[in-house]
Amino acid sequence: MINAKIIMTENVITTKENATIAEAARVMLSKHVRSLVITEDNMPVAVVTQRDLIKGSLNKNPSKLKVKNIMNKKFMTITPDTTYQYIVKKLREEKIDKFPVVEQNKLVGIITETDIIDATRDFTRFHQIMQEVILAIFGLVTAFFLFFFSPLGQTISNALS
């Protein structure tokens, strides 16, 4: 079973809820991420995405508006044992795409859409390889049947015995 521990990003970029959205934007750009996790005592309390920043900046000056005014709760906390299938199901059905990973009341990682894309890409390759292996095994079995029960195979096996 593939679980969250394998596909998560361990280096979570976090911010405090009192930061201004201009600061949050700078952190996002310098760390090359599309969302930040807002933590309190090492636990995720909210997330803020680029979309939230843009929405906030349309109304107010970015250096005055605080992150706590625009952050959202559209995330789902998971544990390192949560399965990949469960995460993909939530992503598809409930359109949640931020999954902070929490272990023993501590934030240990995050799974975003990018991690899920990478994992799915790897599984697709794995599926393709599995398909080739299964075909090869069946091909060999067929070859064995054809040879063993053909007149040539009979002659050789008779000669050997």
Binding site: I21, M28, R34, I134, F145
Partner: protein, 161 residues
């Protein structure tokens, strides 16, 4: 093989080249796609993503009245509407963008995301693998009947005839 025209989004948010940046930001947050395509006579000339808006409008304090042509990414990398999923996956793997305008006869026809392409391929492969395995199992049963039980079948046919 499935074409990308089957999975593309057709209601792409578009803007004229002389619109301003705040207009682009407003359009972007009103639609769920996370990007705006800049068009000139129905031909896409550039693309603006959430990152571009965050970088310019919030972090660099670009004037919201500035033209979108100043901040858009141009030229764009687009896909033709009759590209197969596999081909699209290879192109995405080398270019590392997340969103690709889809062109039909030089005009903008839709938009595909990296995630939808990967997901569609994964679903296809699972489906094909199940069918392939069913066919292989039937084939092996057939071989077993022909090669292993052939004497019994011949005797049975003689008995009938």
């Amino acid at each position: 093989m499935a074409k990308i025209s089957r999975i593309m989004i057709t209601d792409v948010p578009t803007l004229k080249k002389d619109s301003n940046v705040s207009g682009a930001a407003k359009l972007m947050v009103s639609k769920p796609h996370g990007c705006v395509v800049v068009v000139e006579n129905k031909k896409p000339v550039g693309i603006i993503t959430e990152s571009d808006i965050v970088k310019n409008l919030i972090s660099k304090n670009v004037n919201p009245k500035e033209k979108v042509s100043k901040i858009m990414s141009s030229p764009i990398s687009s896909l033709s509407y009759d590209t197969t999923l596999e081909k699209a996956n290879k192109i995405i793997d080398t270019k590392h963008f997340r969103r690709y305008p889809v062109m039909e006869n030089g005009n903008l026809a839709g938009l595909v995301t990296e995630h939808s392409v990967i997901q569609a391929i994964n679903d296809n492969i699972k489906f094909h693998r199940n069918i392939q395995n069913a066919v292989l199992i039937i084939f092996v049963i057939f071989e077993f009947l022909i090669f292993v039980l052939n004497e019994y079948i011949f005797n049975f046919l003689k008995f009938l005839g």
